[in-house]
């Protein structure tokens, strides 16, 4: 395992975090781009007959909606993943494992997204919406662990002069994620529409905290 005391062969610690970031970026980028494959193009046969292409495209709105929320969530998680790694100078097996669990969640997202798009406005929409939000709840939990492990249990993985106040501020921010997504999942079970709007709002808040005067990227100096 890496200790900050030892940096054999020049920059092994830096190469480790760099390669883990690159791999994670790959998974984030692929998951976010695969989402589009779940939106099925209306065929000529479907459109011929009474309906028009416009109407067929409008009827696909659940697909666009799920696409948009999932894109937001994955994009927002990528940005925050990037913020977490700014504080790290090395990785160990535990961090690798937590990060892998996070990537498992991220790469799973296209499935509940397609499930939501298929079942919204149909009898099982509450199930689909609640499961969709629940996946984000689990993802937020794993994300929280990714931040807590180095900051609380493995401080030798942190940049040497990380500001404790900045770390505490981020910990607070990230700690809101799991309960917020859990609430969205419960609301989705009661009213899918309200729950999905809540999901979108939570994700936008994490995406653009600067707009709210919240310190976004407390620089570690």
């Amino acid at each position: 395992m890496f200790r900050k005391r030892s940096a054999p062969h020049g920059e092994i610690g830096h190469r480790d975090t760099a390669r883990l970031e690159a791999f994670s970026d790959g998974v984030f980028a692929i998951a976010i781009t695969l989402l589009i494959l779940e939106i099925r193009v209306p065929t000529v046969d479907q459109v011929e007959g009474e309906t028009s292409l416009w109407r067929a495209l409008i009827e696909l709105w659940p697909s666009y909606f799920g696409y948009l929320i999932s894109f937001l969530v994955i994009g927002m998680m990528w940005i925050n993943h990037h913020n977490v790694f700014k504080f790290l100078v090395g990785v160990d097996q535990w961090l690798l494992t937590i990060n892998l669990a996070l990537l498992l969640c991220i790469s799973f997202i296209p499935f509940p997204t397609a499930l939501l798009a298929e079942h919204i406005t149909h009898p099982d929409e509450r199930t689909a919406a609640a499961l969709y939000a629940a996946v984000f709840f689990v993802t937020a939990l794993v994300f929280y662990a990714l931040w807590r492990y180095p900051t609380r249990r493995a401080p030798w993985l942190l940049v040497p002069d990380a500001d404790p106040k900045a770390i505490a501020a981020i910990t607070r921010r990230f700690s809101y994620g799991p309960p917020a997504y859990l609430a969205a999942a419960i609301i989705s079970w009661i009213s899918p529409t309200v729950g999905l709007v809540a999901l979108a709002v939570i994700s936008l808040l994490y995406l653009a905290p600067a707009l709210l005067g919240d310190p976004v990227e407390p620089s570690p100096d």
Copy 2:
């Protein structure tokens, strides 16, 4: 947020732009490569009977055409994205958000591409072609914002010695994009064929400006 005054821990600013570029490159690369999945291979059953494989492949021309234009547009946008980032030394939350909106557009492109390939030469071809061009119009708008935000509103994100004349030249170039794609969308609504040719021409002009004597990559010195 990043200010050029502070570069704690060595190269955080550089790592930020590098990682954003890498993530964006990932999305561009995946979107450009996924396009091929939308071209369906003629099956043995379809070909057996009266037609031949040659004929079946030729009848797929709308798919090749859409594939080619979308490839050109994504490739051209990638090159220009690369040119934009040469002027940046850091990123802030706004730039991240605009860039995410651009990636949303880019990763959406396979959908209108498949829509175009499915409906061209069918009754709804005008709708499909106009929507296809309209997606590029929106993408060009977001791209323009990606350039205008750092150059006009957040100059501390720029390389310190960026040449104002080079910036003005690029601004001019990029400002032609949105109206040109909007015109292509309107033309596509009237005549899909003419509109699609216009799309291809616009994209080629942005791809190979060097051929026209236009300064392509004004180096910032």
Copy 3:
């Protein structure tokens, strides 16, 4: 071919391993993310009638199970690939070729995974499970070659001060992989359930050796 004596143009050796790692990371990241595409979403038509969405989702358990094991294996192989490359300062044509063979195995994994998910609990489940495990056996063999070639046949590709004891420890660890996966394949042929559990256990052991007190990443100093 690269010798450590010559590093023309600054860092060619380092760029080589860096680019090979980046390409490999890309293939690992894509293969691990494509797995989700193999899980088919239950449609509204399937669910309407007597069954519920919950039941339909629960009946997909073989898909989740295959997804999870394949994710584990690819993730674990990625981490170990990363550990192998920490010992390398250069690559030659043989290493490139062995690495390409490994990537062939990794990118093939979505196929047996889908095969397993389709056939488990059906008459041919023993065939599907044994083939699934056999693919991991072959992958482990190639992985072993990737480690043995530089450490035994091409030591000039290794970091100059690599610790022979660390290398011997990793060699021992990696040498258990092929027989373990072969055993899992044979067991799968007799009892798919036991075999798949064995597969999961082997992969977890390689993923989290730190938990067992085994030295995970013997640093080469």
Copy 4:
């Protein structure tokens, strides 16, 4: 355009080639990994009845064969792309454009691969095999242009001390590619089996020239 005389802002030339390599690597990695999606898993319904899963899997041999050859070709092209870029210190708009054309070819490969797998052993197999080989012919032509442009027309993009003899040796090697693949295409039209074996042999020769005593990676010093 970049000249080697000017390297403003530190390493812009290096960053350019690095980012182009990274983007290209992404497309190569995705194309090579997407190939597997074209192999359709035999379903339980197909297998039930008279045939067994083993037989169904064996009948998929054209898919495996196409998968393997395409994997070899893309992998081999990636390695050679890597060798080309070792000679470059910068890129200009022409090189970007030629490289984009190469990526267009690479990302197109999954389509003729699926076409081959579908039609081999069926009436149109000669057409499918000849087209498959023809795509590699075009790819080899573009690849040759990617090498010739900097070495002949834009020497300022080359590493300053590139050895003319090494360049001449590579030029010779690469010049065999287009005629060899053209011959394979013509042979495929006459006899698909012989043509496909020729394709595999050509690609293996380019992949493992070291085995034949041919200097693989003439280092530029």
